[in-house]
């Protein structure tokens, strides 16, 4: 291993900074004590309590509806857009436009959508959160898939069409399979983004269908409880697993 000398000090300190808070939450989730700051022994009871908490269960269901729906729609739209951007236009403006939803401040997007929904008189609820999550989701999918298309040879598709395959069968038998790892990675990223997204959901959701992050927000505002620690540990595990899976999908060695 080549030595990075004194640079290992800031590197290791930064990892400590990034992971110690997370580790503390996870460790405390196994704490038997109801007092959040006193360790009295190992227990899984807060995980049990989670599953019996009606509000959290409902929040979880709502979040899954939004995340799955947003992922499906954003993946389809984002993939088509990525192909269109890299094969059918050279416009840098369109490419930048397609990425803006991922860069625009979430609070600005959130209130913009709130204002628009209320202007057209649309009722808000899970459907409006879903519509909102698709817009940044499709930008992420488009970015991930575009990166992959750059490495794929377009002559395969041309050959397929020249040999008489319809545009339809070329798309499903050549384009989609070669891009599949990137499409799956993009979908996984949208799923975890939607699962954890709070600001936009907070402004575009209706009062009777809170998503899980909204439930968490109302819980943490009133202080520390052992149940939050358990919920946090589960969500961290889900996000980390999904992101690592997405990363493995886009590893260079997967290239055809």
């Amino acid at each position: 291993m080549r030595s990075i000398g004194w640079l290992r000090v800031p590197l290791l300190l930064t990892y400590a900074f990034l992971y110690i808070p997370i580790a503390v939450v996870v460790v405390m989730s196994f704490n038997a004590s109801k007092m959040p700051f006193n360790w009295t022994g190992l227990s899984l009871k807060w995980y049990g309590a989670l599953f019996h908490d009606e509000v959290i269960r409902e929040g979880f269901t709502n979040t899954m509806i939004v995340a799955v729906g947003a992922t499906v729609i954003a993946t389809i739209l984002g993939t088509l857009l990525a192909i269109g951007l890299s094969r059918y236009t050279k416009s840098a403006i369109l490419q930048a436009y397609a990425l803006t939803p991922a860069i625009v401040p979430d609070l600005a997007l959130a209130i913009g959508l709130l204002v628009m929904f209320s202007f057209v008189g649309m009722t808000v609820g899970l459907h409006s959160v879903l519509l909102a999550h698709v817009v940044f989701g499709l930008a992420f999918v488009a970015a991930v898939v575009t990166a992959r298309i750059g490495q794929v040879d377009p002559s395969l598709e041309e050959a397929s069409q020249d040999l008489g395959a319809s545009a339809w069968s070329t798309f499903f038998r050549i384009t989609v399979p070669t891009l599949l790892p990137a499409i799956v990675a993009g979908a996984l990223l949208v799923f975890t983004l939607s699962l954890d997204e709070f600001v936009i959901a907070f402004f575009t959701d209706g009062p009777s269908t809170p998503t899980l992050p909204i439930v968490i927000y109302s819980m943490v505002r009133f202080g520390v409880t052992p149940e939050i620690n358990a919920l946090a540990a589960i969500l961290l595990l889900v996000s980390f697993t999904v992101v690592i899976a997405a990363q493995r999908m886009t590893r260079p060695r997967d290239l055809t």
Binding site: R8, T14, V135, E158, I228
Partner: protein, 295 residues
């Protein structure tokens, strides 16, 4: 790129494909991002109605209201906090990105994933973790008391420092990532050349490495600064409502005070910062002329 010099049928097919591929996504972005942004822009120039919403008459009241001393001081406070956060992120992120870029290739990927991973987890939970750490009965105070550094718990939570810490924790990966990307592609032979020509380490850094990584540092700074300005969760949870930032004002205008035009003006300032900073970044990147402003 499909070949288009073929038959007319083929050209028509290309045009149809273009519409099928590009149409739905661009239409969706227009409907659910561009038009909502247009709404904010228009609402900023309208008069507020008594119970939320607007009256359709032109007014600059919301802009003049934003210039009242109360709001100017919130803006100043926000800019100060976001600037300190960005500066700290740069000072910490730069050597970290440099260290990762210098690692052997097989370690680099792991090292980068470790930096990015926390960023993909729930924001509220990452902020909440600091309540556990900073609380008067929290780990930090307990540790310091046990060691005997302090004899009574420090008020760490609900301070401006806690807000800065929370923002830094949230957005540090966004600084490291672009910096690493540019350092990984850095032409290290330039640095060697500088050293061979007699430049010292410091001189080589100032004249070669720093200018080449400056565009990326600016991208990182934008990625940390802009969301810090618009964040209302960290000031609320770690600042305890004592630290009011622009994000809190925006939220309150939409959910409590119901002054949507004023909230729109405040939100526009956030978008304005984003656009302005990207413009500056683009200019600097072109001046440095490494042919890659995305670095």
């Amino acid at each position: 790129m499909p070949v288009v010099h073929g038959s007319g049928a083929r050209r028509r097919r290309t045009r149809a494909s273009r519409a099928i591929y590009l149409g739905p996504g661009l239409l969706y972005i227009t409907l659910f991002m561009a038009i909502p942004m247009g709404f904010i822009l228009s609402y900023a120039f309208l008069e507020k109605a008594p119970y939320g919403g607007v009256r359709l008459s032109f007014s600059l009241d919301s802009f003049t209201r934003a210039l009242e001393p109360v709001y100017v001081s919130v803006l100043e406070n926000t800019l100060l906090i976001a600037s300190i956060t960005t500066l700290l992120a740069l000072v910490i992120g730069y050597p970290v990105a440099y260290a990762i870029a210098k690692l052997p290739p097989k370690w680099r990927t792991v090292a980068v994933i470790l930096v990015v991973l926390p960023f993909w987890s729930n924001f509220l939970i990452r902020t909440y973790a600091w309540i556990l750490l900073l609380n008067s009965e929290g780990i930090m105070n307990k540790g310091l008391l046990a060691v005997g550094v302090i004899d009574h718990p420090l008020a760490l939570l609900y301070t401006r420092e806690a807000v800065i810490l929370g923002l830094l924790y949230a957005y540090l990966p966004l600084m490291i990532l672009p910096l690493y990307a540019s350092m990984e592609r850095l032409d290290w032979s330039l640095l060697e050349a500088a050293r061979n020509l007699g430049a010292g380490r410091a001189r080589a850094f100032v004249d070669v490495t720093f200018p080449l990584t400056l565009p990326a540092a600016m991208i990182g700074a934008i990625f940390v600064f802009v969301p810090s300005v618009g964040n209302f969760i960290v000031p609320e949870l770690l600042g305890g409502g004592k630290t009011v930032m622009v994000g809190n004002l925006v939220r309150d205008q939409f959910l409590k005070a119901r002054d949507w035009p004023f909230g729109s003006v405040l939100a526009l300032t956030m978008v304005g910062f984003l656009v302005l900073l990207f413009a500056v970044q683009g200019y600097v990147a072109r001046r440095i002329n490494i042919g890659d402003s995305r670095a």
